[in-house]
């Protein structure tokens, strides 16, 4: 993974010093509350229901074992012993003291980490495919470009006070695991007919109150023009994005109000004035790519007798392999998901003890690296087949091996009423309730691939509008209610879920989810027909009938 050079380290250290000074001045009353707010947001610090929340950037989801141990230390020393993985692959702490945040940032800087631009109306952490570099459907490895974008977006002087936040996601695989069409800018690495790499550039996607699927603004962008094209889009957005209404300030609204054609013209005209002379050199691209060379893989056979025996003799192991591991492009290896969705555990949470143990496992079995995923789980990217059984046992002991990746209990869930001051309704409690109701793992496996996303309010941090089943907390005269949507997807078949009907009361929401799953089981053509396909084929009516007949 990318290693800082002296310039990177100096910049991060200077940022720590800058924010320490700003916080001291604020605590002395020399910076106004509202000015300090924007400064702390750009250093990842929100004030929420109970305490400040610190969001740490995990650039495109890559973490080293050293960084994991530092996160464990921070969880222990400055927090209540745990942290939370977000849908944008970042890590959040929910209980730090404001006055201590500069110290936490100083600790992070010692392991090449920071919280820069993880909130605020600026360019946020770039996200990517958590299987980058190892998946079998990869066209080109996106990580070097992610790093180039990370550097360019960090401390960008012109785009720190945008109309609203701005998110970029990059993928290089045929299967979109990074929800790129729901980002302000989504980049797909592709090859043209002469075999050269380039990007399809999507613009104006987004979730939240007004979910919009991104549109293609550039069908093929040469990598050397990547940064100038991003700059042109950002400049047009900075100049013309709406600033009169925060709910209309994202770039998706500008694209919609201008129309894609006009918007594209504005961007292209701006780009024409800056593209020459600012190209990324091939040397620079190569230098960054060198940081992402494949690790020292062993030459292994894709067949292994011991492993085959283990699969055959241990049903639980075989299930885990089926659900929680993915094919690897190097023979003799698989990628392993660590499920952060065990029943009874708040989705996406990790304790300090787990973090330390994961660091040890990463060093022993996966080249010392871990990745965070958009669906709030972790990945060991490079596990040998011969190590899988041991890794499974160790993960089981850590409660990180629930075989539910991609299933109905792998729920994306925001912090909701328990932690978030904006929430209308609780999410963690209901998620536990759904989990408890789905305690029959065979039933969950029979349901197959179903993505349930659950947000505690319209801000949609858990992307409920693109969940196959979306659950949205709404407030009705101080009482928690839930709005359901069906048919959303953040993947290649990007779609926004359709509203099922009126909101459902808290005590009935779990039963309603079970009803939906039942209808699916009854209606599907066979066990290979995915939930999403069934919903598309039969429409909402059968679901509506069942859910609203009984509740």
């Amino acid at each position: 993974m990318y290693q800082y050079n002296d310039t990177d380290q100096t910049l991060i250290n200077e940022r720590v010093a800058q924010f320490k000074n700003q916080t001291e001045r604020f605590l002395k009353g020399e910076i106004a509350e509202d000015h300090y707010r924007s400064l702390r947001l750009m250093n990842g610090i929100y004030i929420q229901t109970h305490a400040p929340m610190l969001r740490i950037a995990v650039p495109y989801g890559l973490l080293s074992s050293v960084q994991l141990r530092k996160l464990a230390h921070i969880a222990r020393t400055y927090d209540k012993g745990y942290c939370h993985v977000t849908t944008r692959q970042n890590i959040q702490f929910n209980w730090p003291e404001l006055a201590q945040t500069p110290d936490i940032l100083a600790e992070l800087a010692t392991v090449q980490m920071h919280a820069i631009q993880t909130s605020g109306n600026c360019m946020r952490n770039t996200t990517s495919d958590p299987l980058a570099g190892v998946c079998i459907d990869e066209i080109a490895d996106p990580r070097a470009y992610c790093e180039i974008i990370r550097q360019w977006t960090s401390f960008h002087p012109e785009f720190a006070y945008l109309p609203r936040k701005f998110k970029i996601a990059v993928t290089g695989a045929t299967h979109d695991r990074a929800a790129t069409k729901f980002h302000d800018i989504g980049l797909h690495l592709v090859k043209n007919h002469s075999g050269e790499c380039g990007f399809i550039v999507y613009v104006g996607g987004g979730l939240g109150r007004t979910p919009v699927i991104g549109q293609v603004i550039k069908p093929f962008l040469e990598p050397k023009h990547l940064l100038s094209y991003l700059e042109a889009i950002l400049r047009i957005y900075n100049l013309f994005g709406r600033r009169d209404n925060k709910y209309k300030a994202r770039i998706k609204i500008l694209v919609r109000e201008e129309g894609l054609e006009n918007f594209t013209q504005l961007v292209e005209a701006e780009w024409a004035t800056i593209k020459d002379g600012t190209e990324l050199s091939q040397d620079r691209i190569n230098a960054i790519q060198a940081h992402f060379k494949p690790p020292a893989y062993e030459t292994l056979s894709s067949q292994n007798n011991g492993y085959s025996d283990q699969l055959q003799n241990d049903v639980a192991f075989a299930k885990w392999v089926k659900y929680n591991t993915a094919d690897h492009k190097v023979s003799g290896y698989r990628a392993v998901y660590l499920s952060l969705k065990a029943p009874e555990v708040p989705p996406g949470d990790l304790t300090d003890g787990q973090l330390d143990a994961i660091a040890d496992l990463a060093e022993a079995y996966s080249f010392g690296e871990v990745r965070t995923t958009h669906r709030q789980n972790l990945i060991f990217a490079d596990i040998k087949l011969t190590d899988l059984f041991t890794v499974w046992q160790k993960l089981t002991a850590l409660n990180l091996a629930t075989p539910n990746i991609g299933t109905a209990t792998d729920i994306i869930c925001c912090p909701g009423l328990d932690f978030c001051s904006l929430a209308n309704a609780g999410s963690i409690g209901i998620t536990k309730e759904i989990n408890a109701a789905l305690d029959d793992m065979d039933y969950v496996h029979d349901l197959g691939d179903i993505k349930i996303n659950f947000s505690g309010c319209m801000n949609g941090c858990a992307h409920q509008s693109v969940g196959n089943i979306g659950i949205l907390g709404v407030d009705k005269k101080g009482v928690e209610w839930y709005q359901l949507t069906l048919g959303g997807s953040s993947e290649n078949d990007a779609a926004i879920g359709e509203r099922l009907g009126p909101a459902i009361a808290k005590q009935e929401i779990t039963a309603a989810i079970l009803d939906i799953l039942d209808v699916y089981v009854k209606e599907r053509l066979n066990s290979d027909e995915h939930f999403l396909t069934t919903v598309k084929r039969i429409g909402l009516d059968p679901f509506v009938e069942q859910v609203y007949a009984t509740h």
């Binding site: 924007s38 401390f155 002087p157 012109e158 900075n238 600033r243």
Partner: protein, 147 residues
């Protein structure tokens, strides 16, 4: 009034003439873009250095042809969160290659001057002049950059 120019705190040699005030025939004066467009001929006869103030909604292109006649362009912040001034400054410096003074005015923060300096702003008129020393010191916050 004092301000920072080229990393020094100095007395402002320039005077902003509000749209409802009469134009003096001499002196270093700055006017709004609307005033500039309305009274351009008269302003060009002024004995002194001329400046134009751009609001966030103004386009830099409207003064592109006049830049050689201007010693100063101001970019105004009605609110510190309104980042359009950053792109205006950048356009003026990089696209139009304006060599004169680019000044940030209005409700920006001392803690924004570093980024402003990086997009080409070289003078800073803070609403609260007590913050000038802090603003000056923040110009040294970072020793290098990615862009």
């Amino acid at each position: 009034m004092q301000l920072i120019k080229d990393q020094k705190i100095i007395d402002d040699p320039q005077q902003f003439i509000a749209d409802d005030q009469p134009l003096p025939s001499q002196g270093n004066i700055t006017v709004s873009l609307a005033r500039w467009q309305k009274d351009r001929t008269q302003l060009l006869k002024t004995a002194g250095k001329l400046g134009v103030r751009l609001e966030p909604t103004d386009a830099t292109a409207t003064i592109a042809d006049d830049l050689s006649k201007l010693a100063l362009v101001e970019v105004n912040f009605p609110l510190y969160t309104d980042g359009r001034a950053f792109s205006h400054a950048r356009h003026l410096r990089h696209h139009y290659r304006f060599q004169g003074e680019i000044r940030a005015v209005g409700q920006f923060m001392a803690d924004q001057v570093f980024y402003l300096s990086r997009v080409g702003v070289n003078s800073f008129q803070l609403a609260d002049t007590e913050k000038l020393p802090i603003a000056l010191s923040t110009l040294k916050d970072f020793s290098s950059s990615y862009q």
